[in-house]
Symmetry: C2
Subunit: 191 residues, 2 copies
């Protein structure tokens, strides 16, 4: 019976919804089968195993995130680009916590190109600032780390105790902008 129009794509989207609703660790073969009203075993015609399913969700998330971040970047530069990119990033993590968590799976060959897209986008931001080429890799890592660290800690409740987290977020972006505009020379390794 090819009755239900189940495809790998629909399974992946449903699994992503499951992740956002229940948390990525609760993305499970059984839960997904339950949602489609079929037996666990039937899913194995479409996916290899649980790991495969989760990696698909991870790839979906990384792609969606890169799409949104790319859109946010379009037509902007400098501080505007930085803020728009960062906001897109944080928005996505807030709206799709399960997908975002999926994106933090260890980088596999299948997700490597998605990861590269992210790093390319961050390089695009840097074009609005006057950094020597040799510093780009460090600046990209600084930005990625800060964005990812912030939204992770925020989501995990690490900031709960005091103060408005959005105000801090704005302030952190301000400071990063200033840092990029006044990027200190690298004294250890002169070009």
């Amino acid at each position: 019976m090819g009755r239900a129009g189940i495809t790998v794509g629909r399974l992946t989207v449903a699994a992503a919804e499951l992740a956002d609703e229940l948390g990525f660790e609760n993305v499970t073969v059984s839960a997904l089968a339950r949602r489609f009203g079929i037996r666990d075993a039937s899913l194995y015609s479409h996916i290899r195993n649980l790991r495969d399913l989760r990696e698909r969700v991870s790839r979906l998330a990384l792609t969606e995130l890169a799409d949104r971040a790319g859109d946010a970047l379009a037509g902007r530069s400098g501080r505007d680009a930085l803020v728009a990119f960062a906001d897109a990033y944080r928005d996505y993590a807030t709206r799709h916590p399960g997908r975002y968590a999926a994106g933090q799976l260890p980088v596999s060959p299948a997700t490597a190109d998605a990861a590269r897209r992210h790093s390319d986008l961050t390089h695009t931001i840097l074009r609005g600032y006057a950094l020597p080429d040799t510093e780009h890799v460090h600046a990209v890592r600084l930005l990625h780390s800060t964005f990812h660290g912030y939204v992770s800690l925020e989501r995990a409740g690490g900031f709960d105790h005091s103060g408005d987290t959005t105000a801090s977020w704005r302030r952190v972006l301000d400071v990063l902008d200033t840092t990029l505009r006044n990027w200190p020379p690298n004294e250890a390794a002169p070009r």
Copy 2:
């Protein structure tokens, strides 16, 4: 007391070792029981359930990390303090990946005080820089986010494609030091 000198403390340490060896997601009641040569069910005299066990590992990790970071901070200030603290942080995550992952569990009431210790330590670093009090919370969040984001991405392989990650780490710390020394004023209406 029964035969083997099993205590909650020893269980927690063994679970932490398990986490470092197999990954935090593989810290399991059965695996722990296996390690002690007893039955799964027997562990439930010592722990409430799996969640309880994992939270204990989380608390252990956060405490150990705060201890090491606190030691690193002793007798230092300014840039030295920043670098020593950050290195202690990254070292711990590298040497104890499973424990570190445990520490990223959502903040529960039981771990709230450990989280506060971390934030207190970061405030200590800021004493070496001339920041207005109102900016401290933002700076603490910037530092936390960057440290956590960096070691997370590094561990997940997000930096693989190019370059020495330790060199970037040093450079990022340099830049953060400069940023803290030249902390930009907070303008109510930016730009």
